[in-house]
């Protein structure tokens, strides 16, 4: 009986050789090629300091944050098949997802994944701080990291509104009410009254930064659409770009930090 050998498939067939461009042995050359010829592994260098390849040093918190982000992209795309960001449909679509989708844990994967990402990103910052890895020459990458941390929380915050239940709109109402008090740019913020042309107030409840965020004076249909687009398109695009910079700079700044 002919048996299937994965090794033979990899090394001898045209299909196998076309997919993988490296051998199958555990010598250094093949291990290096494994990293170099794979676009995903290629985010890494071929070799790292032994001190950096330790779970006790990195806690894998940064890598895990990226992985959690990827799982959120996947579960988020699945959710987008079912969800319509309008006041008429949003809540019912969430109910439908729960009631009609077999083994429906997509929403759970997405929601708990979002909480998990906040924790892993905080943990990553915590680790980088405790090992002093923010110091020169990595200071700019730390700044990128801080921005990514803020964007992570904004991603979670914008997603919080989408189920369109009581929990959602009141959490977003409480959160976005802060924007009213933005100095100069919120209509209840200090200094806003100073911005006027003659007798005309430039900053009022229909023109301030909260109005811009919600598309209205309260959390309504326009806010739902805005948060949906921010959550699914605008912020993720920025996050992906900044993550590219963040990962690239790790390499350029000398890899995972080590004592001088």
């Amino acid at each position: 009986m002919p048996s299937f050998s994965f090794k033979d498939f990899r090394l001898k067939t045209q299909v196998g050789k076309s997919i993988f461009r490296h051998g199958y042995s555990d010598d250094e050359r093949d291990r290096a090629l494994t990293v170099l010829t794979n676009v995903f592994f290629h985010l890494h260098p071929v070799k790292v300091r032994k001190s950096g390849a330790r779970f006790g040093f990195t806690w894998c918190a940064g890598g895990l944050s990226f992985f959690v982000f990827l799982t959120l992209v996947v579960s988020g795309i699945l959710l987008m098949f079912y969800y319509r960001p309008t006041v008429e449909y949003a809540y019912n679509d969430i109910i439908a997802m729960r009631e009609h989708v077999p083994f429906g844990i997509m929403r759970e994967l997405h929601r708990w994944g979002a909480h998990a990402m906040i924790i892993t990103v905080w943990l990553h910052m915590f680790r980088v701080f405790m090992t002093g890895s923010y110091k020169p020459p990595r200071e700019f990458n730390w700044v990128i990291g801080v921005i990514l941390l803020v964007l992570t929380m904004l991603l979670s915050f914008t997603g919080y509104l989408l189920p369109w239940d009581q929990l959602a709109i009141w959490a977003i109402t409480v959160g976005s009410n802060m924007a009213r008090a933005t100095p100069f740019l919120g209509h209840e913020g200090p200094g806003a009254a100073l911005l006027k042309l003659g007798d005309i107030q430039l900053i009022h409840s229909g023109s301030d930064v909260r109005f811009a965020l919600l598309g209205g004076n309260f959390v309504g249909a326009a806010a739902l659409l805005r948060f949906y687009i921010l959550h699914c398109v605008a912020i993720p695009v920025v996050v992906v770009i900044l993550m590219a910079v963040h990962f690239w700079r790790i390499r350029k700044d000398g890899g995972i930090s080590a004592p001088l």
Binding site: A32, R49, W112, P190, A193, P259
Partner: protein, 360 residues
């Protein structure tokens, strides 16, 4: 027995006692990291927390709060961050002892040697991803995502809370107006985090765990993270009930709890209580004492410290960097200062100019 314990905890609990207790514990930890990270002490602390948690779970109210689906991650986070704080400090203490004995840090020994990324690093990433995936699927199967009644703009729940990671900011609203708690402080937290590597920029102590070499920075960072961020999130989540009133961990959230509003402004202290005169009509006279006090709070430490304790520091750092560092630090400390002023004197605002929405 358990009922007495719960009543005692409730009676003892207030924002001031909990905050003060946490600050004292933090100060002890910062002073004696070796003691607190030793296995017997650390495991005793864990045991105490677990016993408290276990007793708590027998209480219907406590159980309902900590098992609210969106609160579960906070409970998990406490244990994760508690563990890693212990882990990092323990490693740091170990390295400090090595450095004191003239040996290099543990990481230094391995820094010269290089290993292949495949398999050694990718293996770690793979196992971490696998472990996370299993945990997430189990979490998702056993805990349903919350879904309340459909959105209704005319019925506001009491209390209305922001998502949990912003509850530290919402808790600050007790002590500051929204323009400070919701806009200024978050902005300064972000800017302050970004400024860390430009203030603490000595590359010599980078890339390894150490407490003694970076004691100053670690103490500020851990204080900000644990006390001013995580502790406030916990208070905002677990201990703030209807009307944002404070409740003990085992206290039923009573919508009708009455809390007298007795807070007074500094101007009322000065002009009415101490001078026995009425409040001046013009806001700039009325608020002059507060404005002066705030300016002194920010200016005095900078000049005094620059001339005394931090003289050498200013020399190497430059006046601009030192001033930025001091302003960020003083702003951070202003939060607990204002909290204690509220608790001790029922002080509402240091500066209150409602005409311009400018209250501090």
């Amino acid at each position: 027995m358990i009922e007495t314990f719960k009543e005692a905890v409730n009676a003892f609990s207030s924002p001031m006692t909990i905050f003060t207790g946490a600050v004292i514990f933090f100060a002890l930890l910062a002073a004696f990291p070796k003691f607190f990270t030793s296995t017997p002490v650390a495991s005793s602390i864990l045991l105490i927390i677990l016993v408290f948690f276990g007793i708590g779970l027998t209480d219907d109210h406590f159980r309902a709060i900590v098992s609210t689906p969106d609160n579960v991650p906070i409970v998990g986070m406490l244990f994760i961050f508690g563990y890693f704080t212990w882990f990092a400090l323990r490693k740091a203490v170990e390295n400090d002892e090595r450095l004191a004995a003239g040996k290099p840090a543990r990481e230094k020994e391995e820094a010269e040697e290089k290993v292949m990324v495949f398999p050694y690093l990718i293996y770690i990433e793979f196992v971490a991803a696998l472990f996370y995936s299993i945990m997430l699927v189990l979490w998702s199967i056993f805990l349903k995502a919350p879904l309340e009644d459909p959105a209704n703009p005319s019925v506001s729940p009491n209390p209305s809370k922001a998502p949990w990671y912003f509850l530290g900011l919402q808790e600050m609203l007790v002590y500051f107006d929204p323009w400070i708690a919701g806009v200024l402080l978050p902005t300064l937290i972000i800017l302050g985090l970004c400024a860390i590597p430009y203030i603490d920029n000595d590359p010599k102590s980078s890339g390894f765990y150490s407490y003694q070499r970076r004691r100053h920075g670690i103490v500020i960072f851990l204080f900000g993270f644990w006390i001013l961020w995580v502790l406030l999130i916990m208070m905002g989540t677990f201990l703030r009930g209807p009307n944002w009133n404070f409740f003990g961990p085992f206290e039923e959230w009573d919508v009708h709890k009455l809390v007298p509003l007795v807070n007074v402004n500094l101007s009322e202290f000065v002009f009415i209580k101490w001078l026995g005169a009425g409040l001046p009509k013009e806001w700039y006279l009325r608020e002059l004492p507060g404005i002066v006090l705030v300016l002194i709070y920010f200016a005095l430490p900078i000049f005094v410290l620059a001339g005394t304790v931090f003289k050498k520091f200013v020399g190497t750092f430059g006046a601009v960097r030192f001033s930025i560092y001091m302003i960020l630090l003083l702003t951070m400390v202003a939060l607990p200062v204002k909290m204690y002023l509220r608790w001790a004197f029922n002080l509402k605002y240091l500066v209150a100019i409602p005409e311009y929405f400018f209250n501090i």
